[in-house]
Symmetry: C2
């Protein structure tokens, strides 16, 4: 459709295949340059594909003849071939962008001009032990020695732990153009897919990536335990970095999140990227379709790039035997909400990407719980490989579900009042709340920070108990946009009426949902009702609770009263 533009793709691997899948739905013809029967060609039956390699100049010329736009599923293409055909056909992103990005040192030098924060690095010109030792003094150890070109999935990188590693490092990367990079002590690796169109730069959400053997293993969308502020900041950085390059299309941006919550750009890929596979199920528009739309100047509604549901992507990597990885795919058939993508690459080599699985769910915890057995299968497959020796990454099991309810009290003397409610939440509703002591009067700053940060931690409701001049519920409400339930605690004087008035009579603008004096059961039930308004499983339990109260009153007590009569009943009370 759309006047039937034809898209030429350099490379017909899994990325090209998933791009063709998206193109098929829009009836856009893709002409693929790669070996015969490559994964992308298998799902696109026509006579305009080109047999050859994306590194052969003649093949690139031939592809250009039949296309309106040429793009690439890989950045290690012959950019001189692209430069040559640029007068006949549109190339997206530009060959200049691809050429700069495919040389990682040039990429960083270019980004430095745009003020993008990156780990400190030094170019090597002589590649001698003396030169590298001097760089080591400047950057400190450990550091990374890196090839400027043809580096991907950990190939072309060497971890220089001490000065003693220098000879081995130079030997391992012999004959390559090199640079060294200061070690980044990061707490998490983040990634953002960016889509550059003819007139804007859009981004998908910030995701968390887990690498194993220097290859992407898992992607969590959104990144876990990362605040909205960091999510936004990472997207802004990624968009700013991609804006520094010419041309249109999807770009993968990888970043380090440091201990102090600052970000360093790690690297950019000038293409659709493994860290964006989750978008097929996770978003209304996949990175593959967004890339096609961007290079063809078709509209992209920004809303379509938002996350529909938390998603986890797990790569299926070739194991010891050519078909070992299929064990993972077979297991995935029984995983709830798992979408399986096999790339039809035939027999696997150990470590090769053969497919991926994406699990979506209403919460990240649910997605983690579903996918955990599959991560274990993948770890077992890896354990049988002779080419890797280290322990698997991140097989610690699903994270504890982020608590949805926070229970705070002004003093530990309020705890006994809260216990019935805490037990009800945990034992009846299966809701494990976060429980803390934080006084409005004795720890006012902690109380303020706790309340202000609660929503970002995933808390949906706060229960606050206090006695006397009970300020805690109201002050917590003043520091959060979440609903706060107040439990007035009866003190030694005034029968708790002082607490009740202090909590319920908040000024206009800052509400506290007040329950009866000492009634932590009702506070817990109210929290469950609030969660239940959006979670049918919890709402069913609220209904069941009411039903059991009804049954207890009607059938148990009522029947007993009829049987015994009021006088005997009273005697037995």
């Amino acid at each position: 459709m759309w006047n039937s533009p034809k898209v030429g793709i350099l490379g017909g691997g899994q990325l090209g295949r998933m791009m063709v899948e998206a193109a098929n739905r829009l009836n856009i013809q893709c002409n693929v340059l790669d070996a015969e029967n490559s994964p992308a060609k298998q799902i696109s039956s026509h006579d305009d594909h080109v047999t050859g390699s994306f590194k052969e100049r003649e093949a690139v010329r031939e592809l250009a003849k039949s296309c309106d736009v040429v793009t690439a599923e890989i950045e290690h293409v012959d950019t001189y071939a692209l430069e040559e055909i640029a007068s006949q056909v549109k190339i997206e992103p530009s060959w200049q962008a691809i050429r700069t990005i495919q040389n990682k040192f040039d990429q960083k030098e270019h980004l430095r001009q745009y003020g993008i924060p990156m780990a400190d690095h030094r170019e090597l010109t002589e590649n001698t032990p003396e030169e590298l030792a001097k760089v080591g003094e400047q950057l400190g150890y450990p550091m990374m020695l890196k090839s400027k070109t043809m580096a991907y999935d950990g190939r072309g990188n060497f971890h220089v732990r001490t000065k003693e590693d220098i000879p081995e490092a130079l030997e391992a990367l012999k004959g390559r153009p090199l640079y060294a990079e200061k070690w980044a002590y990061f707490k998490m690796e983040l990634a953002v897919m960016v889509v550059k169109t003819k007139d804007t730069v859009l981004s998908y959400p910030t995701v968390e990536t887990v690498q194993e053997d220097s290859v992407c293993k898992l992607v969590y969308a959104p990144a876990r335990n990362v605040s909205d502020a960091i999510n936004q900041k990472a997207q802004e950085l990624a968009r700013k970095a991609v804006a520094a390059f010419d041309g249109k299309g999807a770009f993968g941006v990888e970043m380090f999140l440091l201990e102090d919550d600052s970000l360093l750009l790690c690297e950019i890929a000038s293409r659709i990227h493994n860290s964006g596979h989750y978008t097929i199920e996770g978003c209304a528009m996949s990175q593959f379709e967004a890339h096609l739309r961007a290079i063809l100047d078709l509209p992209i509604p920004p809303k379509s790039l938002e996350l529909r549901q938390p998603s986890i992507m797990l790569n299926i990597i070739g194991g010891a035997a050519p078909d070992t990885h299929l064990t993972a795919a077979e297991h995935a058939l029984s995983i709830p909400n798992a979408s399986i993508h096999l790339y039809s690459k035939g027999a696997a080599k150990p470590g090769r990407k053969m497919g991926h699985i994406t699990v979506t769910a209403a919460t990240m915890h649910e997605a983690e719980t579903h996918i955990q057995p599959l991560i274990e299968v993948v770890d077992q497959i890896r354990a049988q490989r002779s080419d890797v020796k280290t322990k698997p990454q991140s097989s610690s099991g699903p994270s504890k579900p982020a608590p949805s309810v926070a229970v705070i009290m002004g003093s530990d003397s309020d705890l006994k009042t809260l216990v019935p409610g805490l037990k009800l939440l945990r034992d009846y509703f299966g809701i494990e709340p976060a429980v803390d002591i934080t006084s409005a009067h004795r720890t006012p700053t902690f109380m303020a920070e706790y309340s202000a940060g609660a929503a970002a931690r995933g808390i949906k409701v706060i229960i606050a108990a206090a006695g006397g001049a009970a300020h805690l519920p109201g002050m917590a409400a003043a520091h959060t946009a979440l609903p706060v339930i107040g439990v007035p605690v009866k003190g030694s004087s005034l029968d708790g009426v002082d607490s009740l008035y202090s909590i319920v009579q908040m000024p206009r603008g800052v509400p506290v949902a007040t329950v009866g004096i000492n009634n932590s059961i009702n506070a817990a039930l109210l929290a469950a009702r609030i969660l239940g308004a959006f979670d049918p499983a919890i709402q069913k339990k609220v209904e069941a609770y009411a039903e059991s109260a009804r049954a207890e009153n009607m059938e148990l007590k009522g029947t007993k009263l009829q049987e015994l009569g009021w006088e005997k009943y009273f005697e037995e009370m």
Copy 2:
């Protein structure tokens, strides 16, 4: 994978194409029997397809040779050819099921034995005006005259309004085997996709279908304004009906929902179905993949058939010119969250299904709002067709969003107390609540029904105001599992303390979230905080409200006080 079973598909139209798309992801080879370059073949490049028609016995025999399982994207296949090859190859669903189902009269006679409710119907054997007139006396007018075979998308049906229509009806369906069906006065058409596996019968959610020109126009998943009980009942009926047939795979079941909320089965299709296209984006597993898994005995986790988000599917139908329908696809490019599926059928004939669009969103109202402009485009395209004359169906615009907040009061005298909160909800938060008078004392039954039915109507929070012996909030809470916010209204005596105590001191088990006396602003803000805990847009507004209060106090009033001094400030107050 899975020992590489090969699936033969009779028919390579859009249904076959989407089945192949699902098979591609699992690396399952599909061999398609249809014309060269049919839609399904275009996305499956190999040499094992068969050129011919699914009605040619020789072609079916040839297909069987290369496959492990044969299935069909259409029920109008030659079941005698299937019966013949059944000894060599598995056929799913069974040829017996397809044969019974493709004859609509036999289908109904078969289902009748299993106690499936259907509209009353009579077989015609002579097809004479006298015979049909006699049937008309039995069934009443209007009635439907139907062809037993080769009836789909309204073809083979004739609406007999009165006895006078009989000659025209018999002429229109001349030469066909006929039956007549009693007219069903339905309020809604529902559909359920059922998946029959080797050991169980699963179902997708109940959806609402809107027909136009006897062709499916829109599918709403889930069905709008249908209770969970009806949704479950429709799924049960659909599963029971499909269980009456032999074989495995996906079945489309269409039903009528009558005014009294009872259900009549309309018809079954022994295949993937237009009413299930929403499953591609709406569920973790599409009907196409579920069909493949069922016929190949691969596991199907039931959770994967649940709805991820409300979804609306709109068909793209051929218009006056061969490319008119592309206007709709082009418009769809700008619709947020719209997934476009074009079937690559080439030039369109008026009324032919050329593609479909699915819009997903967090709420049905949001999905309706997104898709509305596209429905208008589709209606315009239809208006240009010379072959249809009637007005378009259901272009009334998106439904009003279901209110998420209900505000009730015991007496209209409480309204003035509620007005500030109502205005805040509507004008600041854009939340239009349902507002009702329902007294615990004067209309106890209505109050109980109102509260008990609130959750099913989509209400998430109830605000209840009452004065004096204020029972309304507590009684409402006793009849619902939703959070109830109580506003004590100050009466003529006791300063509102009577109302406050009546509302806040609820017994254990039935909580009311109580706010300050007369403080409907806080009640509204609390409702917004509860919704905001699950809706980031509302939570941002709660934060903005707090920020504007802070700014007003700090910048406006604080600055003024510094400028004027306290004495002058007080004079001006």
